[in-house]
Subunit: 286 residues, 2 copies
Amino acid sequence: MFTGLSAFPLTPVTGDSLDTAAYERLVARLADAGVDSIGALGSTGASPYLTRQQRAEAAKIAVDAAAGTPVLAGIGALATRDVLALAEDAQNAGVAAVLLAPLSYQVLDDDEVYALYEEVTRELSVPLCVYDNPRTTHFRFSDELHGRIACLPGVASIKIPGVPADPAEATARIDRLRALIPDTVTIGVSGDALAATGLAAGCDAWYSAVAGLFPHIAQAIMRDPGESERLQPLWDVFARYGTIRVLAAAATRAGLTGNRVLPRPLRELDGDTLREVTATLAALGL
Amino acid sequence: MFTGLSAFPLTPVTGDSLDTAAYERLVARLADAGVDSIGALGSTGASPYLTRQQRAEAAKIAVDAAAGTPVLAGIGALATRDVLALAEDAQNAGVAAVLLAPLSYQVLDDDEVYALYEEVTRELSVPLCVYDNPRTTHFRFSDELHGRIACLPGVASIKIPGVPADPAEATARIDRLRALIPDTVTIGVSGDALAATGLAAGCDAWYSAVAGLFPHIAQAIMRDPGESERLQPLWDVFARYGTIRVLAAAATRAGLTGNRVLPRPLRELDGDTLREVTATLAALGL
């Protein structure tokens, strides 16, 4: 479950309601495409913006629609109390694993983050993937801290944000992390633009946002890393407007969701920006 | 209410419960000291880590214990839905104003933040203070965006994170912002270390964490900015270990709270760090 392609779909929200039909459709497409696992309620799944009830409901829908493909569910929240409650809900929904990012408001220190993972893994009966995403959590893991956390019982994988663009540096970065963690813990790259580089550098998995909507694109990149270069205009609009907003526009354009997809305060692209993104998607045949 | 000294107390939490007796004590001391307003549930008040029920309860306690001193209550949350619910609760508790920071997980753009303030001010019947704190929210307001938001109905003040250390640059920074906002909107400095510089540069208010526990210290700095220099060792441990953790240690040391003060994942200082902070406080007579 912690190797190969893990696809992270949007969680479409219309007003204050989960669009359950659209969500079911998005997840079922991924299972049909044969991805190795489905990452429900990740960053692209806008999970920190949903209520506990919506997250529990989404986890259930994902497990059902995945029809046997293993589902990882994000359980990140600012307060440890909420993380524990989300872990319980996700396990009750039947997920195969959970994904935990150390969300922050106050700047957290290493011991606080270690203690968070220690407390959560103590309560879990499914494996946990450590989610390292400084762009959204504003917490920077040291490799030393990754090493300590990876030794906690139940930790099975680390989702790293990306790798250096230079192939040799990317390999050195993965080797350095690998030396500090148990052999049983896999490393997965995210940040779609550098995923091919990360896989070539030895990552075991790709935790992918683009695969959450375009699984065949991600599978093509896994077969032929050169495909990633062709998609540079997509990576560029991801960087410029935010992956979640571009994928929301793409999901609407593909008729997979309505026009309202994102929970507020996030807003769908519109006007010139939407036209630019639509043109980019069209030029790439997406 | 949006001028002078506004004191931001801790919200003591023991395990999963609000320590209501300690909170009442902390707030009452501020009213007794004669601060101009009380900032309940700010960053130092750890509000994003509390449940909606805890925040509603704390707002009620603060209004009662403040005994007529105006209370501003923080209503920041990641989801707009939650911000609106918190605004309603705070108003029901009888607060005089609300304080709103644009918390972020996904990186927000200017239009999303403007729309958030537009939606919230439309629902409010009390004034709002814009809370600009990039260290915790990871959103950077441009002065132009401050100007747009300050024109929304009900916006009464802007809490800025700090000012440049150089007095001339601080004055220029305040003048630049002042030129873009209505005359009715005040500017308040936070970041205690540079508050004296901010007030000298023309800020109307000091939104102060140190005043939330040591109101007389803050009042002394307002009378004599030289006092701030004497407190440099305190500002240094604030920067090193986090204001909230240092003030939690100081509250425990003063017998105003128990040993457990902070909601998890935040943790109280201990070991050598606690000894260093305790020695610093003792040397300053705090």
